[in-house]
């Protein structure tokens, strides 16, 4: 019907009735497309407009120098400081990426022996494999992945990175008629003392140990704090409040100075182990509070319904309460992890050569002493930390969005 209207004969006269819906009108020009978007998002209110203008001005002032320093004027290759010094040919020198390139191996492995670096590479590969397995939500056998990450990886990594002492057995066992001669030699894997570990490798070791141990310990502490058993509750509260009440650096100093006082000198743990214990305890106290918030968000009715069905305490926790509690706390958990990843830099105060410390050391290298060396090193550090932390937070956002599908009102 071209006109969209139709005359229908009704008893007693005519009524005009539209035979089909009126075609939808196009939206007003300025409400769609780039202009519409800009109006809605950039200039919606006077305050918005002012903020937009200020932001644009800030970008105009700040961005070009940063881009110039990091990219345009940057020096990408060179053998020593000469490449990064201002000269007639290049009056403005930007970031000295040649310095970073030259020290990339040092930033990655620290003073780990060069002929043993393949071991660290295998560790990186195994770690990446485990993280990928756990982070990929549809991966097969994720339970096995968790086992790999929590049990297999730590043990294998320890022997891989630390080494296995060589073993030689040369024994003669008398068996009456003939002696049984056993001779066996295992070459081992050259022992690399932890004092030679360094760089990204140690940052990852500290961060992963902290992250991996803080989750189960944090959950146990949170449950302990909510426990009805007074002793368990008191101990949990004391531990959490004490650790949260002191800075990480204090915990690290205590771990590295006080821990040896409590154990016989022969058993005194390694410097790195002490730092790892400190970081783990510190992060689990924070994780405990994060998990506790999640546990409190799960209604009591969930416990009751689960108990009424006959599920025990741990079954209820595993299948009903923790999945809900951890889901609501994903942002906080990731927040803790990001903070922990950055806090690992503090281990350098107890003499451990983490990533930042290697940069700190390298920038003092006289071969590369230029006005831009420090800035380049720190820019590189900032970039690496940003990439790591930002990808953690992006991943968490993705998980949250995915888990939110379907089961939220």
């Amino acid at each position: 019907m071209a006109t969209g209207a139709q005359a229908i004969s009704v008893a007693g006269g005519f009524a005009y009735v539209r035979g089909e819906p009126a075609p939808a009108l196009p939206p007003p020009f300025a409400s769609t497309g780039l202009i519409g978007w800009g109006r809605a998002n950039l200039f919606g209110t006077p305050l918005n407009a002012v903020l937009t203008v200020l932001t644009v001005l800030l970008l105009v002032f700040a961005l070009p120098p940063v881009v110039r320093f990091l990219l345009i004027d940057a020096v990408w290759s060179g053998a020593d400081r000469e490449a990064c010094l201002a000269s007639a040919a290049q009056p403005h020198v930007g970031a000295c990426w040649a310095f970073v390139r030259e020290h990339l191996a040092y930033f990655t492995y620290g003073s780990y022996p060069i002929d043993g670096r393949w071991r660290v590479d295998i560790f990186f590969a195994m770690l990446a494999f485990g993280i990928g397995w756990l982070l990929w939500l549809d991966a097969p056998r994720r339970g096995l992945g968790a086992f790999y990450m929590l049990v297999v990886l730590p043990i294998v990594s320890f022997f891989l990175l630390y080494g296995i002492p060589s073993v030689a057995i040369d024994a003669r066992i008398p068996l009456g008629v003939t002696d049984w001669h056993v001779r066996w030699h295992f070459a081992g894997l050259g022992v690399v003392d932890t004092s030679r570990w360094g760089g990204m490798m140690i940052t990852l070791v500290v961060a992963v140990v902290g992250i991996v141990t803080s989750m189960p310990l944090g959950i146990l502490l949170a449950l302990g704090r909510r426990s009805k058993m007074p002793a368990v509750k008191t101990l949990s509260v004391i531990f959490i409040e004490f650790v949260r009440g002191v800075p990480l650096i204090t915990v690290l100093f205590m771990a590295s100075v006080m821990l040896p006082l409590f154990v016989p000198p022969a058993w005194a743990p390694d410097k790195l182990v002490r730092a790892l214990v400190g970081v783990s305890l510190f992060s689990s106290a924070y994780m405990a509070e994060v998990v506790r918030a999640g546990l409190q968000a799960v209604p009591k009715g969930q416990w009751e319904a689960s108990s009424a069905l006959g599920l025990g305490y741990w079954q209820t926790l595993h299948h009903v309460v923790l999945p809900q509690a951890l889901r609501v706390t994903i942002p906080n958990i990731v927040n803790s992890y990001v903070a922990l990843f950055k806090d690992t830099t503090l281990v350098f105060f107890v003499g451990i050569f983490d990533f930042l410390k290697t940069i700190e050391t390298a920038r003092a290298n006289p071969v590369w002493a230029t006005p831009v060396t420090s800035a380049s090193g720190y820019a590189f550090a900032a970039l690496v930390y940003f990439v790591c932390c930002y990808s953690m937070s992006r991943y968490a956002t993705g998980v949250e969005r995915r888990l939110a599908v379907g089961d939220r009102r």
Binding site: P299, E304, G310
Partner: protein, 261 residues
Amino acid sequence: MTVAEIKPDTIAPSRAGGEVAVEIRGLYKWFGEFNVLRDVSLTVRRGERIVICGPSGSGKSTVLRCINGLEPFQRGEVVVDGISLGNDLKRIAEVRREVGMVFQQFNLFPHLTALENCTLAPIQVRKMAKAQAEEIAQRLLKRVRIPEQANKYPGQLSGGQQQRVAIARALCMNPKLMMFDEPTSALDPEMVKEVLDTMVQLALDGMTMLVVTHEMGFARQVADRIVFMDAGQIVEVNTPDEFFNHPQHERTKLFLSQILK
């Protein structure tokens, strides 16, 4: 609920056998200083359908929650299916396997689908194979007439549908006794009927039922006995007919006059 809505056609009284399903003797409970239950005694026989009613705060729900150990009690004895409920956690777990409970607030697990809600306990507690548990769950979801919602999450279901999933979830454990704690009180009026119908069906199938409810129509239609509680005590136990037409106690009369305006 008005008198007019009370259906005259009641279900035939259950052929309650001699077997005792639940025996409560001299039950006392305190919440701190507050005495919630005072000398409550009640015997429920197998196949019997009992409705507990009374004003709010009278201890109705607490009696149910003492039966499956959700609430500890201080004095008296509760014997469920021959198992005396003390503070022994193992015995409480045994009892809970045999007693299904439906809550006012449904309490479905929001992170699991309707089907997973139903299969969780059979798989974890009864150690049933997943396929078998799912088959049973599907059958029971069909019985509560929502088989098509099996793969939806509770948040995607209406209140009435959620409560029926909750009933199916309890039935999946193949309980000997079903307890309902105000199952329709949190529902929109138009959804009350679908839940009550499901419960009537359950009664017709011979399930032993203990129901705390304000739905007097349901009580009249289904109950073998009605228990009236006030201030933590059982005031009157009577058949529906006697209870509604010839209440014995003044307190019962007052309650009925208020609820059956």
